[in-house]
Amino acid sequence: MIVAVAGLAASGTFLVTSRSLSRIVLGFALLGHAAVLALLASGGRAGAPPIVDADAGAETANPLPQALSLTAIVISFGLTLFVLALARRQQILTGDDLVEDDVEDRRIAAGEERLDAAGAAEVLARGADGRDTDDEEVRS
């Protein structure tokens, strides 16, 4: 059980870190399964079904993690659908399913590079990495 959790979590995390949205969705599906398995594993050994008045003598399984798992499954199912809808919307808007860079960040970073090129000598003289000068530039 632990090995299964580790394997699912590892492959899920790997998929989530990729740039393609469809892989991210699949990654979350795997991660969700890993978390639910971990919840079940935390409840101890498997046993008889925990039903009131069933077979009182036998060792029953712990019902609480099962209830928690059910809730978690429903939530992760709904969210997977939502992410899929978002991915579809992005595909309609941009024609691909890659995660894109933050435009504003790019713009500010680009400003930094231009400044670096222009004032490289000054930056070198100061021994700074160019960030400080950029802050001042924007501030003034």
Binding site: A41, S76, L93, D102, D105, R139
Partner: protein
Amino acid sequence: MTAVIALVVVLPLLAAAVVLGVRRFGLLRDVLTLSTMAAVTGMSAALLVEVDRNGTIVLEVGGWAPELGIVLVADLFAALILLVATATILVVELFAIGQRRTPAGADPSVVGPILLVLAGGVSLAVLTGDLFTLFVAFELILVASYVLLTHQGREAQIRSGMTYVVINLFASTLFLFGVAIVYAATGTVNMALLAERVPELPAATQIGVGLWFLVVFGTKAAIFPLFSWLPDSYPTAPTTITAVFAGLLTKIGVYVLIRFFTLMELDELGPLLLVIAGLTMIIGVAGALAQDDVKRILSFHVVSQIGYMIMGLGFFTVAGVAGAVLFLVHQIPVKTVMFLAGGLIEDDQGTSTLKRIGGLASSRPVIAVLFALPALSLAGLPPFSGFVAKLALVDAGIASGAWVIVTVSLVGSILTLLSMTKIWLGAFWGEVTAPAVPASSRRSVTIMQSSAAIAVAGTIAIAIVAGPLWDMSERIATDLLDRTPYITAVLG
């Protein structure tokens, strides 16, 4: 009174379903949404008075014992934050109704019901007494926030919304793993029982649990280095949405951090929290200085201010935690009203980029006042609420002898003032610019400005009642650090 605890959670959710059904009938929808939020705010106020007078109220949902079922716990801390949070959502809903006829406004048939869902989630997160219900409450808040962020379906919103959803979904999955870890280690998810059992665990397990949940709640609260999703996603949403996010979502993360860390007695992590707090303050405010758009500057300030609350928690003294509680109460309305003022600028000028606007101080004096008051409060100048809260934190820091973090926090304050000055110079002084968009109708402007004014009045009221509020914060902090009042209230 126990019925009220259930009602503040259930009523907004039920009303959300009803409002969603009548969402095509504008007036009925707005009246229903506003009256529900007003009712919830009223009940929260009644709850606060009652808890203040007679002590913690506990509701065992369905009559199950705390070991088996779900408990909702309204102690002083929960009741106070609940009141501030619901009142904030009420004001934002009013602003949203005013904004709906403007081009930048959010779709009212979506915002009304979803804000109610958000309110239900916030109430549940604040009141819940067990870890798994907290997970469900977080999901409720997050699902509402996903929809609010992306419902207009613009390209920038989908792009940044995707980042937001993926990061938060990952944090939620980690939360679920955390619940499994805690359950395996202690055999319970009830917080009061956890408070008894976690301190008995081996030291390494305790620290492991603490660090795990620091990552989980830290992502929601946007502490360093887990904040990068926030300045990316917040500015793309309509103003109303950003205001409610900035005022509430990260603060609920901080609330839960304070609750969890004090209850589980994780004092060993205090120094780590202080380091994180310092870095969050400085890097947040440095990011704000580099930006040139009002909404983006404010978004980085959300991050920076989180640092101050974490600092108060990091001391693990009564004065420190009380300062953090006071700061939390001050931040929720101030942050919201700053974004509302930013929204007024954007509504008036068609943009919030500093280079394209100017001279608002003479052309729109009302907006200037509505911006200036909370901005001074945010920077921590007397006599505003920010000053009281920061003074409390610095005082606690000096009492603990933590000079480094006190210095860092003061530098952070000065830089905050500097970036507020930058907005002021860019937007309010200089040559008067012609608005790029046609003016909104007088009625919607009036509604928006008056709701922002109510929120400003709220922040000033916090400064006026600072004395009693400080006493209350100290009592909250004493109870939080003592832990026994909470445990005995829940377990009897």
